[in-house]
């Protein structure tokens, strides 16, 4: 094992990464080297979306990205969405709409929904389903999650301030 040292910019702060091996995934670097445990690993092959983060504004499965390749890029994780105890509009809608059961998929889904609503203010039902189809939830059957997304979209479109949450 090498002691490669590189620096990642995560949620606006620089983190020196030691003891990482060169091919280590961004997910493992975030969780095991930097200690940000909010991103979850459930399949480690890009199928479930539980590890979704933003890298330079692009939603990615952090299990498929090498940590060392994300140097000099702005990484936003679930911890960077909103301060602890002050949920974003998307996060609060998930809680209120019953979109959370076991919650393991939730951080990844929150990242994906913020990303979707940044790009598409008023997504159709089909757009929501297609955009979020890379995030698997085994508990909810998705109905309450779609409800949460629609609630936020409606609230944001009637609120010109654009809501509290901003994951970009």
């Amino acid at each position: 094992m090498s002691n490669e040292l590189f620096t990642l910019r995560v949620n606006g702060s620089d983190h020196d990464v030691a003891d990482s091996w060169l091919g280590e995934s961004l997910l493992d670097v975030l969780r095991d080297r930097i200690g940000l445990m909010g991103s979850k690993g459930a399949c480690t092959q890009g199928e479930c979306g539980s590890c979704s983060v933003l890298v330079d504004g692009v939603l990615v499965c952090s299990c498929l990205v090498m940590g060392a390749s994300a140097v000099d890029q702005e990484i936003v994780t679930i911890e960077g969405v909103a301060p602890v105890g002050t949920p974003s509009d998307v996060q609060q809608a998930f809680v209120d709409a019953g979109a959370v059961q076991c919650g393991f998929c939730t951080p990844g889904l929150v990242m994906a929904v913020h990303d979707l609503l940044e790009r598409t203010g008023s997504p159709t039902d089909t757009e929501i389903r297609e955009e979020l189809a890379g995030n698997v939830c085994r508990c909810t059957g998705y109905g309450r999650i779609i409800d949460a997304v629609q609630q936020v979209a409606v609230r944001r479109s009637s609120d010109h301030d654009g809501g509290r949450g901003d994951a970009s």
């Binding site: 690993g41 479930c48 996060q91 393991f104 297609e130 189809a133 909810t140 059957g141």
Partner: protein, 770 residues
């Protein structure tokens, strides 16, 4: 026996009937909630498990020397290092902690290591040399039952046989329909992978294990036996559970983690990968079910004959209970005077099978509902009508001779489902605004392979019965403690919160009973009596019953204190809102004030009435209670390509009393997704005993695009036998949704002039178009 006292319109916030938010909700959406896979301790070591690559082999030699020589490897252990019982199991203790002399399935643990980091642990596994003498695997459950094959386990190749005879099994009717049905092996596929951390006590004479599980006390008992400890030397704390669905009822990494930690006197963490998870937990039993239904010319059931074969895989787990659930539900939610059922659970060298949501009732339902459709066609009546004609009612008798004493609104479930609107989307989906076809609405979706002109729509029905709680003379009690002081209720229980939301309704119950607003939930661990398992749709009834009873006991103490202070008989007092009031006077005191300075502390064990074992003819009151549900599926099918798009599922479910309607809807939608998965995509494939798709690329799970809108009606008829009038709601949604989807596919194909039997789930494209 209580039902809610208030009509819905006047529900106080956060009490029974309201849908308050989950107490863990904000932590979960912000990523700060600690799942068991997020747990870490300073100085902890990392464990890993060596598993068999063969479905059946004799272990000739195990050479650990190269593993020990690796830098950073701290422990390498095998069966020789197990100080207590060498085997474990929920019903029969037939599964080795580590294989002894022989391996019986691909993935069976042989050794475990602990190292300074996961990579070193993995390299240590590679360095262990095992010499095998490969044996011919027993893979055919019929061969296991027939008895000609050498035993692959000292307990034999037949895990259980049970026979049921009811009424006149030779009775016949004007109409006879017959079929043989197969159900594939489904995986629970919870997202939060198995993980645990064990902290050894100083002196290594005890251990504390933090783990995601469904039943802390059963784990404790099995772990302690293997460690050679008294139960109390193993303290269990619930780690955050990322879904369960039955897969966490059995031991997986618990004993291994504790053994390593005790050996090294250091904390040890173990965590499975997805590939290891597919090997490391039990699955839904594959089954083959033959049924012959006899009915009169009007389609009224006269007799049901059935033969069930469940493939239990290498170890018993809960196979005997899954078998009994399956065979005792053979008639479905229908009255029938005569029946004869034979059921077998066989041992093979396949992956071990055990609990998954629906637990035997899923397999039975696919068979009996397929039969009901055949019967409807033979009698020339509509699928819903044949079910209405036979719908079970309270007081009807099962083939076991057990009367159904619960509320049994089968007819209501069917009629309320019929009343839900069919989708207004045209076949193939609503076109886009430019008039072109929306490919995402077509079977095949983003593959854009379907031609809209080929699509046919079908409608199908499924109705089911599910037993609630444990059966066959098992006392699956639950324990809860309620402390009340200064207007704050503190609840303690060992009930595993796996995502279903028990912690939400526990607080609702306390607010309703005690008139408090503030409820604190103590850590979920073994520092209180057992709550039983979070399975069998039982926790709302059982742990809900225990919390209800503990809160009522605390309320009695409160009333005694208020009565003494004010010279009032306690029986005159009641809770109204957040006040204690005198029903025969003017006294009104806020609970906050009335409980000020008091120390009220009540612990109650809630037991359901005892059940009976089945006799040799399968007779006995073996089940505790029953719940019912109806599903109607609408699908669009491309018969040329064999592709299916589920367009809508409508359902009406017998819930008794919805304590938290939003949570009930969540259970309904989530359960239907798993039923849809079994219908059209989910199956663990094993070839020659080797799993071929143990990953999420090849084991397909329903996504946002696969799940249709769900229309749900809650049939709220409070059950007088349930402590809060509420029935468990977790399992029914995934039971009859599967046959409803398959029936809808058959219906669509009939309209295309194709008569496909579709007698196997999951339905594969080739089953439709070849």
């Amino acid at each position: 026996m209580t039902v809610i006292e208030e009509p819905r319109t006047t529900i106080r916030s956060g009490t029974i009937g309201d849908s308050p938010v989950r107490p863990d909700g904000v932590a979960k959406v912000q990523g700060t909630y600690a799942f068991s896979s997020d747990l870490h301790a300073d100085g902890c070591l990392f464990g890993a498990t060596l598993r068999s690559p063969h479905p059946h082999a004799r272990i000739v030699a195990i050479d650990l020397s190269a593993a020990w020589k690796l830098n950073g490897v701290e422990a390498v252990i095998t069966a020789e290092d197990v100080p207590g019982q060498l085997t474990y199991g929920l019903i029969a203790q037939d599964q080795p902690v580590f294989a002894v002399d022989v391996v019986r399935y691909v993935g069976e643990p042989i050794a475990a290591v602990a190292a300074i980091d996961p990579e070193t642990a993995r390299r240590a596994l590679d360095a262990i040399e095992v010499t095998y003498e490969v044996l011919t695997p027993l893979l055919d459950p019929e061969a296991a039952i027939a008895g000609g094959h050498d035993p692959i386990h000292p307990d034999g190749n037949l895990i259980r046989h049970q026979h049921i005879v009811h009424g006149d099994p030779s009775a016949t009717g004007a109409v006879v329909v017959e079929g043989t049905y197969e159900i594939g092996m489904q995986d629970q596929a919870f997202l939060g992978l198995e993980a645990a951390i064990a902290y050894p006590d100083p002196g290594a004479d005890g251990v504390e294990l933090h783990v995601a599980t469904q039943w802390l006390h059963e784990d404790q008992k099995q772990i302690a036996a293997c460690l050679g400890f008294a139960d109390e030397k193993v303290r269990m704390v619930l780690g955050g559970v990322g879904g369960a669905f039955g897969a966490r009822e059995d031991i997986s990494l618990q004993v291994h983690t504790c053994l390593l930690a005790l050996r090294l006197a250091r904390p040890v963490r173990m965590a499975y990968s997805r590939a290891e998870s597919f090997l490391g937990h039990v699955h839904r039993h594959p089954a083959t079910i033959w049924m012959r239904h006899h009915a009169d010319a009007d389609g009224r059931l006269v007799n049901v004959e059935a033969r069930f074969v469940f493939d239990g895989g290498a170890y018993a787990s809960t196979s005997s209970a899954v078998l009994v659930n399956g065979i005792t539900m053979a008639q479905g939610p229908y009255a029938c005077p005569n029946g004869m059922v034979d059921g077998y659970a066989a041992r093979t060298n396949h992956l071990p099978c055990g609990a998954m949501r629906g637990f035997g009732a899923v397999q039975a339902c696919f068979a009996y509902e397929s039969q009901m459709d055949k019967l409807a066609a033979a009698c020339g009546v509509e699928p819903a009508e044949i079910r209405l004609r036979n719908a079970m009612k309270t007081g009807d008798t099962l083939f076991t001779g057990q009367p159904v004493l619960n509320v049994a609104p089968v007819e209501d479930c069917i009629r309320e489902t019929m009343a839900l609107p069919l989708p207004d989307e045209p076949v193939g989906g609503t076109p886009l605004s430019d008039g072109s076809q929306d490919a995402m609405k077509l079977p095949g979706g983003a593959g854009r392979t379907a031609d809209a002109g080929d699509i046919v729509r079908g409608i199908g029905w499924g109705v089911s019965i599910k037993n609630l709680m444990y059966s066959e003379n098992f006392d699956d009690y639950s324990t809860a403690r309620c402390r009340l002081a200064d207007g704050v209720a503190t609840l303690k229980f060992a009930t595993a919160e796996v995502g279903q939301g028990f912690i939400t309704i526990a607080a609702q119950i306390a607010r309703s009973i005690l008139g408090v607003d503030e409820v604190e939930l103590d850590q979920i661990d073994t520092h209180i009596g057992s709550a039983g398992s979070t399975s069998a749709s039982r926790q709302t009834w059982m742990s809900g019953g225990a919390v209800d009873a503990a809160c009522r006991a605390a309320r009695e103490r409160l009333f005694e204190a208020v009565g003494t202070a004010h010279g009032i008989e306690p029986i005159r007092l009641m809770i109204e809102g957040t006040d204690v009031i005198d029903t025969a006077g003017d006294l009104r005191i806020p609970v906050v004030e009335a409980s000020s300075g008091l120390t009220i502390d009540e612990t109650i064990e809630y037991h359901h009435p005892p059940t009976e074992d089945l006799d040799e003819n399968g007779q006995g009151n073996c089940h505790t209670a029953f719940a019912f549900v109806a599903h109607r599926a609408v699908v669009d099918v491309d018969p040329e390509l064999g592709l299916v798009k589920v367009v809508q599922i409508a359902t009406a479910q017998d819930v008794g009393n919805a304590l938290n309607p939003l949570s009930v809807v969540g259970q309904i939608e989530g359960g239907i997704a798993q039923g849809l998965g079994l219908a059209v995509m989910e199956e663990i494939i094993q070839i020659d005993g080797v799993i071929r798709n143990g990953n999420f690329t090849d084991y397909l799970l329903p996504t946002f695009l696969d799940m249709p809108p769900v229309l749900a009606t809650l049939i709220e008829q409070p059950d007088p036998h349930a402590p809060l009038g509420a029935k468990g709601v977790g399992e029914p949604p995934c039971i009859s949704s599967t046959p409803a989807v398959v029936a809808a596919i058959r219906d669509a194909l009939r309209q295309a002039g194709i008569d496909a039997p579709l007698d196997r789930v999951p339905v594969r494209p080739a089953d439709i178009c070849l």
